[in-house]
């Protein structure tokens, strides 16, 4: 049985990567990792040896879903008059052409997906989880995972085509 420190040290990068792909920004990813590690610490005693990364992916997904629910309950504030204060700057053409720019484009396209499609996609293609595990994590049938994942990929493809990343 790993200690909490070992989990944080050995699987922190995995947690952060999944958290970043789910949230799309550094600040939220940090918060997600920190909260996830708190839950790991509380739940480590009940962890049954198996796929540790599967267990971690489930925890970070649950934290993400909890955060989404909290945000939905919070009142929506009106945008300031100057939209430049809140909207991220668009990617310069030269930046978009390099690898980092492409990665940014793909992440922004992932961010544009509704959560119900984004989560299965990240769990499958980033966290490398099986449909069965994703279904357990989300509490839905495997068929639902399959259809949401495929729909998510189709939406992502359309978004990337709009951005000129895919033909």
């Amino acid at each position: 049985m790993p200690t909490w420190e070992e989990v944080a040290r050995d699987h922190g990068r995995f947690l952060y990567n999944v958290a970043y792909r789910l949230t799309g920004n550094v600040e939220d990813a940090r918060d997600l990792v920190q909260e996830s590690l708190l839950r790991v610490r509380r739940g480590l005693a009940t962890y049954e040896p198996g796929s540790l990364e599967g267990w971690l992916a489930r925890i970070v997904t649950n934290v993400f879903l909890d955060e989404m629910r909290k945000k939905q309950r919070r009142p929506v504030h009106a945008l300031p008059e100057n939209p430049d204060l809140v909207l991220p700057p668009s990617i310069a053409a030269d930046k978009a052409s390099d690898a980092a720019g492409l990665s940014t484009e793909i992440q922004e396209a992932i961010n544009s997906l509704p959560e119900e499609f984004r989560i299965p996609l990240v769990l499958c293609d980033v966290a490398d989880q099986s449909y069965e595990h994703i279904a357990t994590t989300l509490g839905v049938p495997i068929g639902t995972v399959r259809s949401r994942l495929h729909r998510g990929r189709k939406l992502l493809r359309a978004e990337l085509s709009t951005r000129g990343v895919l033909a």
Partner: protein, 155 residues
């Protein structure tokens, strides 16, 4: 059904993703592979789905900010993460106590304030007393003093 509609319905078929992810049982897999071999619309839909899947899977692992994970596992911070946990529990407890106190205060105000606002001077009685006093003493001015005190108390 024209060719576009057929292509759309094929592209919507979630078995394509399941095939790419190795999540189909052998009979379903064999059936789909026969379609890929026989029908260009199916192989095109497979390739389009595969291209976006490959792009996401090829994304580099995002590294945490420098020092972030180290700060979480440092011995003193291991304790501080515990502290955050404890602090949250304390906050939840104190929030509960504050809520109870706020409700109690609201109830107290609701019970006491109406009584205070109802404590108005009994003007009719005061006027009658004043008139009786004036009639007895013949001094209409000094007889007003108790009436003034009564009205102030009632505010």
């Amino acid at each position: 059904m024209n060719d576009d509609q057929t292509s759309d319905s094929i592209a919507d078929d979630a078995r394509i993703s399941a095939w790419l992810d190795g999540e189909l049982d052998p009979p379903a897999r064999a059936e789909l592979e026969a379609r890929f071999a026989a029908e260009p619309a199916w192989s095109r839909a497979r390739d389009e789905t595969a291209s976006v899947r490959d792009l996401v899977r090829a994304l580099e692992v995002v590294e945490p900010p420098a020092g972030f994970l180290e700060s979480l596992v440092a011995p003193d911070v291991g304790a501080s993460v515990v502290d955050i946990d404890s602090a949250r529990r304390r906050t939840r407890r104190s929030t509960g106590v504050m809520t109870i106190l706020a409700v109690a205060a609201a109830l107290l105000i609701a019970v006491v304030v109406p009584d205070l606002t109802r404590a108005k001077p009994a003007l009719a009685t005061d006027v009658r007393l004043h008139q009786a006093g004036v009639a007895a003493s013949g001094d209409p001015v000094s007889g007003l003093a108790p009436l003034g005190a009564s009205m102030r108390l009632g505010r």
